[in-house]
Symmetry: C2
Subunit: 347 residues, 2 copies
């Protein structure tokens, strides 16, 4: 670390030179600019996600089920007030399950307008308000992951659904309007732009090298931790400071093919990464996203598409440069972020 | 408006159905979801960009020039303490003008790392702290636009510079760390991802129709206002609520070909749009970006690339869905936003 970043934001001299790195998975450039920030280990959230009042109650709390939009299922299935997880409809859905889907067409690309058909669900991860994902046990986090899986399998049976995005918002500046621990799933009648671009980029890598880019073993420097079936890394061209990817060791295109053993294993690694992020970065607002493959993926794309889970601590506000270019400025080099995250000791 | 959005956020029924629209210029889908928000005319910023204390002084104020990074030029050129605009180096630049550019190569696509060579400048738009862009006269805004032009022409003479992004951040949640009226310019040794994608999409439209997509006359419903040389519209598939594009009527690939007469004309329309946005949406944080073409654009791309200026009021925080998919959820239909903006009376 000594020769890394020796200055603070108030002296812009004598820091490592900026660098551009190509993100091969998303096919975009990222600017690494240490002069824009403090030492990596000093970077903390200025607006930590507040610890909810332990006595607080909300519509997602046990006992308030009647204040919620309809339930889809609960875990365990036959539980009463002793449920652990509930998957419910979103009360203000972005897409509507109650309108007609457009006639399924291979030629969606030529359409300019589609009915807003789709599903928007909420996964309540705990019955009690103050319990957040990192407070759950590895196997309880695994149960949340298996609830995602179960719901994706249900959604996959609807013909016109092309992609399911699972995501979590934690903290107001990461978009969360509810503080009770939850995640969301949006099932879309289109394949979103960034998923098509990622598939193309991964296909290009595969065509050039004969390998899946996410099957390649990352450099030691970028590794944060590992479990039986997963590794966690800071990607070589991370878009965001302290971004982490959890990648299955073995090639797998779809998250929803995960089995119970792997779900518990992933649960443990995810919990550990969230705790490290929280401890190191002052309980920052964060998002996580499961990046999987389109439901009806072509056979030829299977060998080059590999699902992963992306954790993004939200430490800065984006400005006009990023809005305009989709090129991000990251003030922390990935190897420095990985180093800092490896060192955080949890218990 | 009567049959538009009759309910508030607390009753998700009886609103217009959600819709997906294809943004043909950026080649991506946007979800329009009125149920996610209030009536369009009730949408206001919850964190208005604060009006700076008129007595406040900062390094960008006249008399504080010595607290700034080096000046590149000022307007008028021979002014002393009576300058109107200063273009200066950014003290914490994202890219460095003091390192070697990588050897210019047509094969940048195969590189994974580039030296962070580039330019990052700040344009101070007024000598005094409380004066913001909408407070300037049309011709003073025109002078700011001509300062961008002059600086782009200087940057264009550097071989390895491929694209110049001009952008403005106003208000903390739009990324601004300085409240004194300013904009920024970043000159890049690469063409950023969203610019390549836009060019491709516009080329595709051109190949299909023989026309430049931004030369097409937009529907009346989407028009906000017009001037001699420009129109302002809410785009058909606006990514953000109340987003506005100002588009030159006549085909032009590069912003920096603007002449003085057009700069004043654009200055007037830009000022008007910023005032409307500020009045209607409670002085919201906003960004604007000038979307121009790469400096060394291919001859064949000239007929299909058309520059424009995009104004984005920042009314919501993005969440994991947008981070994961690049698919945005906009709660205001563009024709409703245009209607509301047309009606705002300024003075
Ligand atoms: N009683 C109830 N029953 C059922 N559902 C209920 C409910 N009360 C509230 N909800 C829903 O619960 C969800 C909670 O979601 P989050 O707090 O993660 O973010 P939200 O979706 O509001 O927006 C964030 O995430 C989205 C998607 O990324 C962004 O578009 C947005 O800008 C950002 O603020 C909301 O979607 C809400 O509609
Ligand atoms: N004395 C001085 N002399 C010269 N320059 C000085 C100076 N004091 C400050 N500056 C510079 O002035 C600029 C002011 O810029 P803004 O307030 O528009 O946003 P900033 O660039 O901080 O970051 C926002 O915009 C960028 C780009 O969109 C995002 O990466 C980021 O997250 C977001 O907060 C800063 O870049 C700063 O380095």
């Amino acid at each position: 670390m000594e020769n890394m970043v020796a200055s603070s934001a108030s002296s812009a001299l004598s820091v490592r030179n900026p660098e551009l790195r190509k993100d091969r998975i998303n096919n975009r450039w990222v600017i690494f600019s240490p002069a824009r920030s403090k030492r990596p280990s000093d970077l903390k959230s200025k607006s930590p996600a507040t610890n909810p009042n332990p006595k607080q109650e909300c519509p997602f709390c046990v006992g308030h089920e009647h204040e919620c939009a309809p339930e889809i299922f609960r875990v365990p299935p036959d539980s009463k007030s002793d449920w652990k997880i509930r998957v419910i409809e979103n009360l203000y859905p972005a897409l509507s399950r109650r309108i007609e889907p457009d006639p399924s067409s291979d030629d969606l690309d030529r359409c300019l307008v589609l009915n807003g058909f789709g599903f928007h669900d909420v996964v309540i991860e705990s019955p009690t308000h103050p319990v957040h994902m990192p407070d759950l046990s590895a196997s309880e986090v695994g149960d949340v992951l298996l609830a995602y899986k179960k719901r994706i399998l249900q959604l996959a049976s609807v013909d016109s659904i092309k992609y399911v995005q699972v995501f979590k918002n934690h903290g107001v500046t990461a978009g969360a309007s509810m503080s009770h621990s939850h995640s969301q799933m949006i099932a879309l009648p289109i394949i979103p732009p960034s998923i098509s671009l990622r598939l193309e980029a991964m296909k290009e890598y595969f065509d050039q090298t004969g390998k899946c880019v996410l099957c390649e073993v990352p450099s030691e420097e970028l590794l944060v931790d590992e479990s039986t079936h997963f590794i966690s890394v800071v990607p070589f061209a991370a878009t965001y400071a302290f971004e982490i990817w959890i990648v299955p060791r073995n090639h797998s295109s779809h998250f929803h093919h995960i089995d119970s053993e792997k779900a518990v294993d992933l649960g443990g690694l995810l919990k550990l990464m969230l705790r490290k992020v929280s401890l190191q970065l002052n309980n920052p607002p964060f998002n996580f996203m499961i990046h999987t493959s389109p439901l009806q993926i072509k056979e030829s794309q299977l060998p080059c598409s590999h699902w992963f889970l992306q954790i993004v601590p939200q430490l800065t506000v984006v400005g006009g440069f990023e809005v305009g270019t989709s090129c991000y400025i990251n003030s922390v080099f990935p190897e420095d972020a990985a180093h800092v995250l490896r060192e955080v000791s949890v218990d």
